[in-house]
Symmetry: D3
Subunit: 317 residues, 6 copies
């Protein structure tokens, strides 16, 4: 495997560098004084960068495609205050030469480990029908693979590989803590709700080359509708799944955004729906805020650093 | 069959009357100076009325239940400016003695005739898969009966027996006119959307005695979710129904309220979704406004009366 | 001590009863046919009830004042569908004859026990300056007594005696659970925020006879301003309290309502401010929802009952 | 007449071209390394394009003015990813050399044909006073010319030459269809409302060279006020025009935006005002949506193309 | 002239009284135990009161009509906690027997004195065209009488006889003070705006018997449209009134509510339009707030009373 | 002292100029074809300008720092349509060589004169406790200096040196005029409110080099909280300052933004709080609007120019 080299958010202010990067855009452009050059947009999981190939652009452009990972050598310059790379050598890499996770932003946690935790939470469901349903959903071959890799959003929160799974597992863990505090809450429903409330995102979002985007179905009917569809499909496979329980799950899905103007079809009406809606807000906001502050650090699992009070400010007003 | 007698919105200011009415509430209450009386709330499709039985209340109360239709004779009096009936004779009626439609507010149009029109509109769908799907939905035995009687809402518009069917047929007719005007619109999609956009209301609303109310499922997950469920169930019965077409139908259902804060999951994104959303608004508003102005008249099918400009005002600011 | 007798939310539909109740309103009114009667409004912690004294009203009215607790015997009747008590005997009670908590809605938990828990949470604060400040605040003689009895609101949530303390202790407990889950959060700040964010309510709300109401200061400047005032007063007594830490506490107070239109001066900008704001919403909503469903039960500390899914609905849409 | 040449939305990626275009901006600018050049912004009805004259800029700049149409030859190049024209020859055209409609975006329909349809709709008004009023308005010499050319908006919908007339005629046609469906609606009022509701736009908007813009009066008092002014002026010329009818017309003008926050002074209160307001929304939205999808095609009058479901999406969420 | 007697907001808790009042409602109603009585609603400028005539109701009812002023004697009783008058004698009064201003709430200021002040302000306008226009408007025979008596609103502010004139004169006075402070403001425009911005209210509101109500035109097109109509009519009578100046006046009318959702067609865009809009808000709010606090006192023209800080609170939160 | 030279908002389109300016940004950047240059951002109170030093950039860059004022000579050129200065000579200036007010936007009025007016207004307060408090606040050594220089905002209104003081003095003057008009208003409270309502801005905003910015405390707790803190500190130094009066002042501070969604904690509830809130809006809007129109002119103190009606438009819609 090739050495990744420096991440794009840490390139030096000048000098020559060698690194691996994914090609996001590729275009032949005319030079002002005649002739043409090859303009590239490179990316890895940390940032993006413009690059230019001045010599032999048409031939070089044949060597790789958008979406490929390339090994590139060049000199860092500044143009309009922004760094760019003047490329001297570039070649396409084989998949065995790099680690794909270097090019997607990805969860710091291991997907398999998180999937194991998820199954442990599902096993905590005491109602047999419900546990069977959720178990079959998460282990459905069309779902479990995508669940290991899907992000929870394009931009807002958990917008990285395995972000959805990280969010679900975090909600399950919060649900356990919450039912210890508010003992009348039904943990079965909270765990089931944590699993299915955003599950439609595995069909609403897709990876395009090295980035995430909406699918056409995601654009037209959103993850809520897609989640209801997944639920319907699996409920219909089980004999005698209680209609009341199905309705509760549908309510958890359609109410989890809390208010109509935020995308809910109904406001929460069950205690567990209120709890799920607020925990969802809490986990999304905590991930978003702390990522803003602690950026590339693995903030979830290490001890709190001694940050000054000013550095803890998430957004300037 | 017994004579219905005067409708409750037309009872005289005094004197003795005899009529049929449904019992909405029934309660034994103490008189101020000792003893008790039987307090009733009567209703027919036009209005409601309080009634009192002063003599022998406990025995009379045994003769009928809430939800029964009774034949009642009594004297009209006024109490706190509102009319009430002092009952002298009352007895329970058998179902063969009255026409249930006298006690529900109901569409002026014949349900069978409207259902026939609906089938003609469905037959206009040119795409075979889509026509087959919609045809099976409207002729599903669990749907077609309820579709003949369900209201379109509790209060806002078409809030009467067969109101949903009247609304659907009206939208289909408008869709035909609209595609004549905007020729690029896909009539297939508009007719299908007219049929399914509110279909979940057959499960969201129910008749309780002589009134409509939300079902528990209707409260928790709303007619949009219930409509998606009906669609999913019928699509799954057809082999190879195109996923694109299913997605379009789902989009028409989840976007027909137009804006998120009005209950849409997505804003309309297809021309037909915009058109359906605006036609839905138009038909609802026209029924609501004209009912407010023309009340008990059959406004849809007769020539316009010569109303003064002031009498055409729907709401005072 | 006298027997309280039946609570007003459980009075039978008729017959004679004897009970203790607080007098909320008292008025001599004319009878329609001449003469007068004494109209009373009685209350205990569960509900309110109208009562009438027909005989000797002027003399009876001298025997007690609004705000007194009385022992009353009478017959239950119904007027305009609402129960009322026709009083045959009534007398004023001495404070030693009743338990004041029977007349206020009150926390099910013992205030002293909760205050002990609060001090244990304060002791968990690791920063010496902050722990000293919060410790002096909660043990200030002008604060600690009122903190044991103040409600957290008039109507919305924890609107009962000791409701503020119950809310604070609940938030501290949630804060401990949350910092176990999100390890980068500063527990010191969360505990301090839990204690002071609503502390101004001890001056904003007051008990009037047997009910709570806003004070004039509460009306004009709200608990947020009053909380800032308490903080300022105690900080000024400590030499060299860090300005940064004071600013963080001020931010937690002014941002805890989350959005400007909900009463925040600033939106949360620190991770701990986001967390406090969402936990505050969660605890308020859980108390409010569960009280609506489980009413007079001690829902916080007992095992969940087997409620049907329909009975768990908090509000009908 | 000169050949227009290629439209600007279809210029090739390189090579030499000759075409007619309007001059929108014209400026002498310094070159970085000394000397100066002439920077132009060219436009036709389809798009805009930057152009540069490197040689003899001061002399060339004397040959034409902003707003003129020029015949230009040059080479297409790309600068910052956008095409620009390096001009080799340029000269001013006489009006007889070009068709002005090539430079404005314009309705695909013939204004005279549309004006004829408008007069046919006006002739359908049965009330003599109203028909006389509307007839005099549309044939007023200060109005009828501008009505043939005015756009309906700057950007939102029907934002092209004769767009207002196209919108009015479309609304009249929809009004006829609607009164066939809802027979109690007053067609006279709907046609009159279609004609006058937006008529103030002929004074609110103006053509500036080859583009539309707000007039100062349009900015300060909007088309609603200007429409009321036109109505007032023409009503005052007729003896005994009924005050009731004038008020209805004023109501149609001031309520047609539907809601106060969208620019209505009153919400609709007459059935015809509701209908006009919703038809106005429908026609605007259909033009806007279909233009977005079908762009330069004459979508209103040709058969629907077989577009894929994905291509029918108007806006991405 | 008869003695008015006590005002209705000051009637004693019992005993016999004699007073003059206007009849607002009049109805024969059945007694519960047979027979009938005459139910009246009486009013003067201070309050309203229910009254009952038990004896000879049909004959008594012939003696006067709704809208008449009557002299009435009777006994004050309480029914459902509200005072009512049991009438023993009642007769119709001739107009010469009472002062109509006792029955309308009315400005404390003399209309003629205020009209004189208005003319003095108009005379301050330096631009000849503008002064001539405003002068002709306020002295138009169809306007000046109604201007002396019209209220400025039904309920919100200056909702009393001559309230509109009081509001206009107050705004003129504030305009003079403001242009002394902000010397670049155009006083001509501010005075003209003060006069015409609400002038449409003389046609939008009407007196019905002893109360104010909306006219049908007021309901359908609001005072803004009616004010534009008045302006148009008077401008058209003047030769060569500058179009720019007319546009400024139209802008002041259509922008004076400040925001679209508060009834403005355009937001203010001229400094004078901003100033007028804010002064209008200020004067309305000051009248409303101070009336709430000082009620029946002539608060505008006397020295401030020594009210406690608590008594100065206008609204409880 | 050096000659300032031309202001940056008036630099010519070309040619050589010499002027003083503050250095806002300073950076060494690589040239495209090798080597480097020094890129500067210059500013004075009127505008900003880019400048480039092509020769000897590293050595030149040592001669001055960001925040310094420099004397610079160079040639004006245009790049991407924007002017830039190609520097031929540049040197650092000593503070005695320039007038700092040339580089900050600043009030046209003399701070000392305004401070004198402020003290005269404070002397008008009749209540001894209140006058003493406000007097001590404005003469507090930590406050009075900053009050002479602080802006009232970063961008919206009075966003210039001494803008806060100009705003306060203007409000005091308006308050005097207003209490002459509405005689029941308490002038004491209005003057005190004018002084303290925005006083927290002296700690919320700070000057950074030649620009204003938020302080960290300003970001986290806003000027409202900082104003309450200043009030609390000074009240605590006075023996027996009335709690009622303190509460009124707190109310004026927390309600002066008028509505919760604009940053108020409470809506105004006292007449003086309404008045202060509306005057604050008026003065802010007048400064903002007139500055937009009259820009660099001293609009407050000179006679109104004869501006055309079109030039008085503040914002285009």
């Amino acid at each position: 495997m090739e050495n990744k080299g420096v991440y794009l958010n840490q390139i030096p202010g000048g000098g020559e560098i060698t690194l691996l990067a994914a090609v996001v855009d590729k275009e032949i452009r005319p030079k002002r004084n005649g002739g043409s050059y090859l303009a590239l947009r490179l990316a890895d999981r940390s940032a993006e960068l413009d690059a230019k190939v001045w010599d032999n652009p048409e031939a070089i452009a044949q060597l790789f495609s958008t979406g490929d990972v390339v090994k590139v050598r060049g000199t860092v310059e500044h143009y309009n205050d922004k760094p760019q790379l003047i490329v001297s050598r570039i070649r396409r890499c084989e998949p065995r030469e790099y680690d794909v996770s270097d090019f997607y932003p990805a969860s710091r946690r291991d997907p398999e480990e998180m999937f194991g935790e998820l199954q442990a939470f599902v096993a905590m469901i005491r109602d047999d029908s419900l546990r069977q349903l959720i178990d079959e959903i998460v282990n459905d071959s069309g779902i479990s693979d995508r669940l290991r890799t899907a992000p929870a959003a394009l931009k807002i929160h958990h917008a990285f590989r395995s972000g959805l799974l990280e969010h679900i597992v975090s909600l399950c863990s919060l649900a356990v803590a919450l039912t210890a505090h508010y003992q009348r809450l039904n943990l079965d429903w909270l765990i089931a709700g944590a699993v299915i409330h955003d599950l439609g995102k595995i069909e609403a979002l897709t990876s395009t080359g090295v980035r995430f985007d909406y699918t056409t179905r995601g654009q037209l009917i959103e993850h809520v509708t897609l989640g209801l569809e997944i639920l319907e499909r699996h409920v219909s496979r089980l004999a005698d799944f209680p209609l009341e329980l199905k309705t509760v799950l549908q309510h958890l899905i359609v109410s989890h955004h809390g208010d109509l103007d935020k995308g809910a079809l109904r406001r929460p009406m069950l205690p567990e729906a209120f709890a799920l809606s607020i925990l969802d807000l809490l986990d999304a906001r905590m991930e978003q805020v702390c990522r803003t502050i602690f950026r590339r650090l693995s903030w979830l699992r290490t001890a709190p650093p001694k940050l000054s009070w000013q550095k803890r400010i998430a957004w300037h007003g």
